[in-house]
């Protein structure tokens, strides 16, 4: 949808400012143009032709993490994240020269190398031949940087009777970064290519560990194409289709960070908690802000605005320290990376990814 299609949504914004109570980029800058209301005003200015974007304008628009907490705080529930996405798609067409080089390279990398990181496709993890109709869609981040998370996911799935296929270098990038940053035409192409590629391989069920791939495949793709396969997050599959049981050799106090794309976006709140609570010797404690109130870790803007992103992940880590957790578990590689970078400064707490914890609990390690 174009920005014009969101005109009604833009005018629905009352400018009441209630989003200040949620927006993390506002909380850490106290600059209203880095708040949801500010971004809606900026979208309106663009729409009505009253403003020519400049570098600051781009920074305000591109620094939104699309975490969607503004909608939780917004009385009329304005779709701010969708407005920002639509605004970015206009800017990608009209002001591409103002995009930071990092984003342009990331977009080109997806189109040329099937990953947003600019690394050769060969750096993705190895493939596994399993059931042809069930695909474990690893995601670029895990495949390139955290293959152990994918290996642990596989271990858990296999132990519970599922032997999915892993495509390795052949796995396409889901293309989220394209739709996130406004390259919508490119995204549409990628979405339809990925869907037909998976269809041709006879895939009936896609399991993801990455919440971003999950949201992209399950929700964004549906905007432009119809899916012939089912998409499940690993936590959904483990709760619905298997009976996961695990135990830790030592007691551990664990908290869970709801990734924006899994929680607020897709409503998957209970399954990860059920899995954690099923592990013996694990004491589960909630973060001060959890479920729909969960604080964005800053991951999506870490490369562009590292200082701001660090303040956001620091806040998550502080919350975990407050509730006495020694491990902050997340089922998202982006969140893991963010939280780990802040947790590194605190001896009492560490970041831990869910598959690794589950694999360890299965081994009773």
């Amino acid at each position: 949808m174009s920005l014009k299609d969101y005109e009604g949504e833009i005018y629905t914004c009352l400018r009441c400012g209630f989003c200040q109570a949620g927006c993390p980029t506002f909380r850490h800058t106290l600059n209203e143009s880095l708040n949801a209301r500010g971004r809606v005003i900026l979208a309106k200015l663009y729409l009505t032709g009253q403003y020519t974007p400049d570098e600051d304008y781009m920074q305000r628009v591109l620094s939104c993490t699309l975490c969607d907490i503004c909608k939780v705080k917004c009385p009329p529930k304005v779709e701010v994240a969708e407005i920002v996405e639509a605004l970015r798609s206009e800017l990608w067409r009209s002001h591409r020269d103002l995009y930071p080089q990092d984003i342009v390279e990331s977009i080109n990398s997806i189109l040329e190398r099937q990953n947003p990181f600019g690394v050769p496709r060969e750096q993705k993890m190895r493939s596994y031949e399993g059931e042809s109709s069930v695909l474990f869609f690893v995601g670029c981040s895990s495949s390139v940087y955290y293959p152990h998370m994918a290996e642990n996911t596989l271990q858990v799935l296999r132990a519970l009777g599922l032997n999915p296929t892993v495509l390795g270098q052949e796995e396409p990038c889901c293309g989220y970064r394209l739709v996130e940053m406004g390259a919508v035409d490119e995204f549409k192409r990628v979405a339809s290519e990925v869907v037909s590629f998976l269809e041709n391989r006879g895939v009936e069920l896609v399991i993801t560990n990455c919440p971003t791939c999950y949201k992209t495949l399950k929700e964004y793709y549906k905007r432009y194409t119809s899916l012939t396969f089912e998409v499940m997050h690993i936590t959904e599959w483990l709760v619905k289709e298997a009976k996961f049981e695990g135990e830790l050799s030592e007691p551990m106090t664990v908290t869970y960070h709801d990734p924006c794309h899994l929680g607020r976006s897709m409503g998957v709140y209970e399954e990860p908690r059920q899995l954690l609570e099923s592990i013996r010797n694990l004491k589960f404690v909630e973060l001060p802000k959890s479920r729909e109130e969960s604080i964005c870790c800053g991951g999506p803007i870490r490369a562009l605005y590292p200082e701001l992103a660090s303040k956001m992940s620091d806040e998550v880590v502080q919350g975990a320290i407050e509730v006495g957790a020694s491990q902050i578990v997340s089922s998202c590689t982006t969140c893991y990376r963010s939280i780990a970078s802040s947790a590194a400064f605190h001896a009492e707490v560490d970041a831990l990814d869910l598959p690794t914890l589950l694999a360890r609990a299965l081994r009773r390690g």
């Binding site: 009604g8 005018y11 629905t12 009352l14 400018r15 009441c16 400012g17 209630f18 200040q20 109570a21 106290l30 600059n31 209203e32 143009s33 209301r37 500010g38 005003i41 900026l42 200015l45 403003y51 400049d54 600051d56 304008y57 305000r60 705080k73 917004c74 009385p75 009329p76 529930k77």
Partner: protein, 456 residues
């Protein structure tokens, strides 16, 4: 326009990271929650009284307009810099300075958000009762500037009843302290009352000493349904006269209940008027007071009265009330919330007048609000892009203010005059009275640099 030299001086005072002349930021700081807008030349975020004082001294010397801003949730255009100049934004002064539970007092900086203050006070069994609907973001400084009102105004009044003292930076940069740490004092003119609700035109508050209240032991909410404006008006008046001491009385008319129920996914009985009454106090006092209230309301003409004692059920009713404005805002592209108040025995007549004027001008108006304070929010849903309709809206507003003044009321109960109600102040006050206000403004701000163009 402001010269580069002045911008550099501002940067020297507060640090360059606390000054912005970015056109992107200036555009965003052109707005509040009203439909007005006006653009500053520079935004400054001070962090100390000394910085605020230095900024004012500079502005006074250079005759630069300065407009204070909190969260920017004002509904009357208060923080919008009509003459450009400096937007002085107080949101980085967020310290809670001194809590004294034994005195029921706390001292805060102006950027403290109301809900944050109440979270801080809660473990002490205390609260600051003036929580406007925007309490999740509204700053104490902004509330003091606008004399904000709460949902429970019947018992607790408005901000002015809870401000004991203020540190104020005057337009010439001098810092004064007004008020007293006592609950009563009549030493000299009441400058606290003068400053509270002055909409940023007389001084900038840098410290605020607030009175606090103990959190009530128990709460119940009664909902009553009425078929006519007259009966609803009686239901408001008689509840207050009955002596059952409600803390808040909130009204929603049919269109609001319908929209709010749909928006919040609640099933509420439909009636011409739904009124919620909150009764708070000691545990043992609640039930007899609620019983008496129900009897009074039935005698006043309520078709039904329900009582919610449980927190969950109470939350459901307040959820509907809180959904009123957002639900209405979804009906049309533009939503203008008005804020008029009348004496409590004229509420019924005001409700009737609003309905007939909306019909006369063919404007969509749905009314809700703090009926127990006589303060209602007739909310116009319209489309700012439709010039012809906006003319009808303007005609409705003018007639509405006249009707309110005829009912011995006020053109604004809690949102302030700001920009949006400035043309109507003369309906309520004669020239002689407005001239007294002007002479006060001249005495304190002879160069007219502090929030110029507002109120008078």
């Amino acid at each position: 326009m402001i010269s580069d030299a002045v911008v550099r001086k501002l940067e020297d005072i507060v640090g360059s990271e606390n000054v912005s002349t970015s056109p992107t930021d200036l555009h965003v700081y052109s707005y509040d929650a009203s439909i007005a807008h006006a653009t500053p030349d520079v935004i400054v975020w001070p962090q100390t009284t000394e910085q605020v004082s230095q900024i004012m001294k500079l502005a006074y010397e250079e005759e630069i307009p300065v407009t204070p801003r909190g969260a920017g949730s004002c509904l009357s255009g208060g923080p919008l810099p009509l003459k450009g100049g400096i937007s002085i934004t107080m949101t980085k002064m967020t310290r809670i300075l001194d809590l004294n539970p034994n005195r029921l007092q706390v001292s805060v900086e102006p950027g403290v958000v109301v809900d944050r203050l109440n979270e801080y006070l809660q473990p002490h069994g205390l609260f600051y009762p003036i929580n406007p609907a925007s309490s999740s973001i509204a700053t104490i400084g902004g509330c003091v500037g606008e004399d904000a009102g709460p949902l429970r105004g019947v018992k607790y009044g408005t901000t002015k009843n809870w401000v004991l003292g203020l540190e104020v930076v005057l337009p010439n940069g001098k810092v004064i302290h007004v008020g007293s740490k006592t609950f009563k004092h009549v030493a000299g003119y009441d400058l606290v009352r003068l400053m509270v609700g002055s909409e940023g035109t007389l001084g900038i508050f840098t410290k605020i000493n607030l009175r606090l209240a103990p959190i009530p032991e128990a709460v119940a909410v009664a909902s009553a349904f009425f078929d006519s404006a007259d009966a609803a008006g009686k239901g408001v008046r008689d509840a207050i006269l009955s002596g059952v001491d409600p803390s808040g009385i909130e009204l929603m008319e049919r269109a609001v209940v319908e929209a709010a129920s749909k928006h919040a996914g609640l099933k509420l009985p439909q009636a011409e008027f739904l009124i919620l009454y909150e009764i708070a106090g000691s545990k043992e006092s609640i039930e007899p007071r609620v019983r008496k209230l129900a009897k009074v309301l039935k005698e006043a003409g309520a078709t039904a009265v329900d009582v919610a004692y449980e927190a969950e059920e109470r939350a459901r009713l307040w959820k509907a009330r809180k959904a009123a404005f957002p639900a209405l805002s979804r009906l049309r592209p533009t939503c203008i919330m008005e804020d008029v108040a009348v004496p409590i025995d004229n509420v019924g007549k005001l409700l009737e007048a609003l309905r007939s004027l909306a019909k006369k001008h063919d404007v969509m108006v749905a009314t809700f609000g703090h009926a127990g304070d006589g303060d209602l929010h007739p909310t116009i849903t319209t489309d700012e892009r439709d010039e012809e309709e906006m003319k009808r809206v303007a005609a409705f507003r003018a007639d509405m203010y006249k009707a309110v003044v005829d009912l011995e009321g006020t053109i604004t109960g809690e949102h302030g005059v700001g920009i949006t109600k400035k043309p109507y102040l003369k309906l309520q006050f004669r020239e002689d009275e407005i001239e007294v206000m002007r002479s006060i403004k001249r005495a304190i701000d002879p160069k007219n640099i502090l929030n110029p163009g507002k109120i008078i």
